[in-house]
């Protein structure tokens, strides 16, 4: 989530309430449209959020639903004040509008809003949450369930292995963010079954220079680098280096294949990733909401779980730069990014 935090604008973020009346023809059993309040951590124009809401609505199907969307916009305005304020806005909206169900995205919405409703009457369904459910007190509670966003580490390594068949040793690079130890730990666990893959090193980097040194140092030493945490590097002046710059430098200077777990990394030159699908997250959450609203199931009876199917992505431009031929099967089944974002 750090990548999004990095993009939070300082400016005041207005809470945009977008109301979307359901246009589906099927009426709900009580005779009025169901009210669903969607509280997203970022903004509606963000692909990730867009995909999740689209998947949610798709899964709700023909239920007559009246939606209200609250954008916390914490990607563009990552300030604490914005987070607190938008959380309050959301609470006010719940009290005023009295939705039948609240659908929340990503971790900020949980931390600043949803966790306050644990044990309330209104059912809460979440998706795109990276933290453990217990972090927000969701474990074993009656009115909350949802979909965890857990990176597809094993699938990503296997994708890379199809491009680089001789892949054996990989190095992992993270920044100092709190998220990464958990991510790394899950990666290790998922690769435990892959006997011929060795995580040769896990480096926690603080500066851009250190990063460059370490990347160049790995050339010829490992078969690939997992570039995960790239948000908190600082330059010599101590200023934070944008992660786009970090990744561009990598694409232009590293001859080692690399991988990550997020789609925008591939657009910024990372060779491949199996990203978590926003649509899949939204669909899974929508199915849960539908089970609660239409079938009358209790949220506690629906286990909290991650989605299992990721979306492979490869950068054709990076592959060319690395001199790698991506097998035709991958090209046909994965999302292929032909160029670098900075070229477009």
């Amino acid at each position: 989530m750090k990548q999004r935090d990095r993009h939070l604008p300082i400016t005041l973020v207005g809470i945009a309430l977008a109301s979307t009346l359901a246009t589906t023809a099927v009426a709900d059993p009580t005779g009025r449209s169901l009210r669903v309040l969607h509280v997203m951590s970022y903004h509606a124009g963000w692909e990730w959020n867009r995909d999740q809401l689209a998947g949610f609505k798709e899964a709700m199907g023909d239920l007559a639903v009246e939606y209200r969307v609250l954008e916390m916009d914490t990607k563009r305005d990552g300030s604490e004040a914005n987070k607190v304020r938008s959380g309050n806005e959301a609470r006010q909206l719940v009290d005023a509008w009295k939705p039948d169900l609240v659908y929340t995205n990503d971790d900020n919405a949980q931390l600043y809003f949803a966790k306050d409703y644990v044990g309330a009457a209104t059912p809460f369904v979440f998706s795109g949450v990276n933290a453990e459910p217990g972090t927000y007190g969701y474990t074993g509670r009656d009115n909350v369930t949802g979909v965890l966003e857990q990176e597809h580490g094993l699938q990503t390594v296997r994708l890379l292995r199809q491009i680089v068949p001789d892949l054996r040793r990989i190095a992992i690079i993270v920044d100092s963010g709190a998220t990464w130890p958990g991510v790394v730990e899950r990666l290790r666990a998922s690769l435990a079954g892959e006997a011929d893959i060795e995580i040769a090193a896990v480096d926690t980097i603080h500066t851009f220079a250190e990063y460059k040194e370490r990347v160049l140092g790995y050339q010829g030493k490992v078969d690939a680098i997992g570039i995960l945490g790239v948000f908190s590097y600082t330059d010599a002046s101590g200023a934070r280096v944008p992660y786009e710059e970090v990744l561009r430098w990598t694409a232009e200077n590293s001859t080692l294949p690399d991988f990550s777990f997020w789609g925008d990394r591939v657009e910024l030159g990372t060779l491949c990733a199996v990203r978590v699908s926003g649509l899949a997250q939204g669909r899974a959450a929508g199915e849960m909401a539908r089970a609660i609203l239409a079938d009358g199931r209790a949220p506690s009876s629906i286990p909290i779980a991650p989605t299992v199917k990721g979306e492979p992505m490869v950068s054709l431009a990076r592959a060319r730069k690395l001199g790698l031929a991506i097998p035709s099967g991958i090209l046909l089944n994965a999302k292929v990014v032909k160029g670098f974002r900075w070229d477009s």
Binding site: L316, A325, I326, P327, S328, L331, L332
Partner: protein
């Protein structure tokens, strides 16, 4: 097994299902083949398109074709996803192969490629690749500029279709057979449960009942459904219930019946015992009765024998009495003495008649009366009976009329003696009870056919009549109309009983009608055979001729007129001489003039006038109808007119014969009749041997014979008679039948035997002289060789009449009778 309903139904369903499934499978396989072929062709194209699409997508990424990595694997993976692909390849326009899989498929030729590339279109064709045929698809892959960068070629063997079709056929057949088998098993089970088992229960129940199971002990067949079998079972149960009820009824009736039978048996036993006792009594009684009957029969026979003997014994002395009385009457000149002799004669004859009746009655009673069946002249019998009783009628002044028309047969078959007896009985009876008027004896032919004739014989009188109360028992034995009758008219009361018996014996019937003070009529109806060759007595015809009939008695006039008409004559009846004269004087001329001799006012002059009144001078033939057999009286003797005379009574045939006699014969008859009327006694000539053991009868016979002018020799028994016959020349033998030493029958047989042995040319007439007066006696005599029969006691006339048949002409020219017939 095949007779089971279940088997039949299952078999039928199996056949239908097999046919249906077979047809379905066949159609299904054909359709499948067609559709699968299309599907295979489409799949071929789809695989090709898929590969082409993938290639296009890869090219769209800007990767040069030659730099594609893993394209083979991608294509193989894609192709592997499809079954039945025989071969697949992606070929560059320059012929380089980007991908080739599955078998040594022949590469497309340049020409093919060119065609495919030039066409830029997808094609699917059937190609022959060696021994295998393939559906071959060509799909061009176009580059971003629209140029063809490659051609995808996919081949699917036709075998894939065939194998699928075969597999489908196998599966269909196996499935069909399996499901059919399963279905049939289920059907068999269902039928077994729904039909066979239930029918079996019905069948079992029926067999049990047929095998003799008690209906009452037969449990009802379960009715577990209300379908047809359930209905049958219900009906069967009701039927069994009904039958059982009927059986119980029958049992009850049977028990009741047995009870009754037992009761009746007991009753019958009792009755039987009683009956046995009764039977024993009856047996004894019957034995006694049988004995009594035997005794009675014996007594009856004894009585008959006694009567026969009595008859014989009485006749024998009566012969003497009557014979002597007759001789006396001719020799005694004193009128008073002559009267006494006449009384003796009458009394004797009455006694004889009585004896005859008693004898007949005895025979009737004993059931021994028999009838002869011989041809005889019934007309002659009528005439004889009439003439026999005519004197008695004349004596009483009663007219006796015989009506025997020409249409009644002459010769019939029957017993002449018994017919004569019937007629004499009835006629005698009628005369006895008639004091004035007439007695009519008539015969009428009622019907005639096939040699048989139905005759009505009537005897009608104008006598005292019979009270109606007496009519029912008139024909009973010893019955007379009233006691007064018996006292006044005498008689035994046997005559009518015998008459009725004789008529019935002849198969006829007799009845009587009577009106007291007016008269009585007896009607007899007889059906008799007509003798062969006999014709009607109407053979003589007088067609176109006329006759003047002068008769005072209206009845007789009517009878005669009818007879004349029947013979073709035109009669002119006249009741008096005056009427006759008036007819003649009126100018009428007659071929015949019939005059009753006793007409008042009839004399020679009148007669002459009647006979000669014909205008052309021809005379009418005159016939005098006389009452006296002796001929016309002297009143008519002075006429010059030739007369023909007929004594009454006569039958029609006699009259018609008389009317046609020749004048010469007529004259001689006339003279004869005149002579006869003068009292000259006719005599015979010859020598007669009389065999008679009774002295008195010898004397009577000798006296009469000698007075007839015959010589007489006597023999006292049969042996003597035979000896005398041998020794002397006799013209005739009078043979008594019952004689000591040798009876008349034996003597006759010996005489005939001697004649036969000697070869004599002549045969001596033997006339039986017997007191056995019955017809069978006469038959016996003829059988023994005798020729004629005279019953004792005999009169001089009777003897003379019989003898005159056998002896030569009399010693004078006179004939015994002047009458014709």
């Amino acid at each position: 097994m095949l007779r089971s309903v279940r088997t039949k139904i299952v078999a039928a369903v199996a056949v239908v299902a097999l046919v249906t499934l077979g047809l379905n499978a066949a159609v299904g396989v054909l359709l499948f083949k067609e559709q699968y072929t299309r599907a295979i062709q489409a799949q071929t194209l789809t695989v090709g398109r898929n590969l082409a699409t993938q290639l296009r997508q890869l090219l769209a990424l800007g990767i040069p074709v030659d730099e594609l990595v893993g394209f083979d694997d991608q294509c193989r993976e894609t192709v592997d996803a499809y079954d039945d692909v025989g071969y697949a390849m992606v070929v560059r326009p320059d012929g380089r192969v980007l991908f080739q899989d599955r078998g040594p498929a022949v590469l497309p030729s340049d020409a093919e490629l060119r065609d495919g590339l030039a066409a830029g279109e997808e094609t699917v064709v059937l190609v022959q690749d060696g021994s295998a045929s393939h559906y071959d698809a060509l799909v061009p892959v176009l580059g971003s500029d629209g140029e063809t960068v490659a051609v995808v070629r996919i081949g699917v063997p036709v075998r894939a279709v065939t194998e699928r079709v075969h597999a489908l056929t196998r599966t269909s057949v196996i499935t069909a057979i399996g499901s059919l088998g399963l279905g049939l098993v289920v059907l068999a089970v269902v039928i077994g449960r729904l039909v066979v088992r239930r029918l079996g229960r019905l069948d079992g129940a029926m067999r049990a009942i047929a095998g003799g199971r008690d209906l009452g002990a037969t449990p009802p067949v379960p009715v577990d459904s209300h379908d047809e079998i359930g209905t049958i079972a219900l009906a069967f149960n009701r039927m069994i219930e009904g039958l059982d009820q009927s059986r119980r009824e029958v049992e009850r009736y049977t028990n009741e019946l047995e009870h009754r039978v037992l009761e009746r048996t007991r009753e019958l036993s009792t009755t039987n015992e009683t009956l046995e006792r009764d039977i024993e009594r009856r047996r004894k009684s019957e034995a006694a009765l049988l004995q009594a009957r035997r005794d009675a029969v014996a007594a009856s026979e004894a009585k008959s024998r006694f009567l026969a003997n009595m008859s014989h014994e009485i006749r024998t002395p009566m012969n003497g009495v009557l014979g002597m009385a007759q001789l006396l009457s001719q020799t005694v000149s004193d009128p008073e003495q002559r009267g006494w002799v006449e009384v003796i004669d009458n009394s004797g004859r009455a006694l004889l008649s009585l004896i005859d009746d008693i004898l007949d009655f005895s025979k009737v009673e004993a059931g021994k009366m028999t009838l002869a069946l011989i041809p005889f002249d019934l007309g002659a019998t009528f005439r004889e009976v009439g003439r026999l009783l005519a004197p008695k009628a004349a004596e009483k002044g009663v007219r006796l009329i015989v009506d025997y028309g020409p249409d009644v047969p002459r010769q019939i078959v029957g017993d002449p003696g018994r017919v004569r007896q019937i007629l004499i009985n009835l006629l005698g009876n009628a005369l006895k009870f008639t004091e004035h008027g007439h007695v009519l004896l008539a015969a009428e032919c009622l019907a005639r056919s096939d040699g048989r004739v139905t005759l009505a014989i009537r005897v009608r009188d104008t006598g005292v009549g019979i009270p109606a109360s007496a009519l029912p028992r008139l024909f009973e034995t010893f019955s007379q109309a009233t006691d007064d009758t018996a006292r006044k008219y005498g008689g035994t009361g046997l005559g009518l009983a015998i008459t009725r018996h004789l008529v019935e014996l002849m198969g006829g019937s007799i009845r009587v009608e009577s009106t007291p003070g007016e008269g009585t009529a007896f009607h007899i109806q007889l059906e008799l055979d007509v003798a062969a060759g006999s014709e009607r007595d109407g053979g003589r015809r007088f067609d176109g001729q006329s006759a003047l009939l002068v008769e005072a008695n209206a009845t007789e006039r009517a009878v005669l007129a009818r007879h004349l008409r029947d013979a073709g004559l035109a009669p002119e009846p006249a009741d008096s001489v005056c009427s006759a004269l008036a007819a003649v004087d009126g100018g009428k001329a007659f071929d015949f003039t019939l005059l009753a001799a006793d007409l008042p006012g009839l004399d020679a002059t009148t007669l002459t006038r009647l006979a000669t009144a014909h205008p052309d001078g021809t005379r009418s033939t005159v016939v005098v109808l006389g009452r006296d057999p002796s001929g016309p009286d002297s009143r008519l003797s002075d006429t010059s007119v030739p007369l023909r005379f007929i004594a009454r009574p006569f039958v029609a045939r006699d009259l018609l014969d008389t009317m046609t006699l020749s004048p010469e014969r007529d004259a001689r008859d006339h003279l004869g009749s005149v002579r006869a009327s003068s009292g000259v006694t006719p005599s015979l000539r010859g020598r007669v041997l009389v065999a008679e053991d009774v002295v008195m009868n010898q004397k009577v016979a000798t006296a009469i014979l000698r007075r007839l002018g015959l010589e007489v020799d006597l023999a006292e028994d049969g042996r003597q008679a035979v000896e005398r016959w041998r020794g002397g020349q006799y013209d005739l033998v009078l043979m008594d039948c019952h004689m000591p030493e040798m009876d008349g029958y034996e003597a006759t047989r010996r005489i005939r035997a001697t004649e036969a042995a000697s070869g004599a040319a002549t045969r001596i007439p033997i006339v039986a002289l017997t007191a056995n007066a019955m017809p069978e006696d006469r038959a016996h005599c003829i059988q023994c060789g005798m020729d004629d029969f005279v019953a004792k006691p005999f009169s001089r006339e009777a003897l003379s009449k019989v003898l005159s048949r056998w002896l030569g002409p009399p010693s004078t020219d006179a004939t015994p009778t002047a009458a014709v017939g």
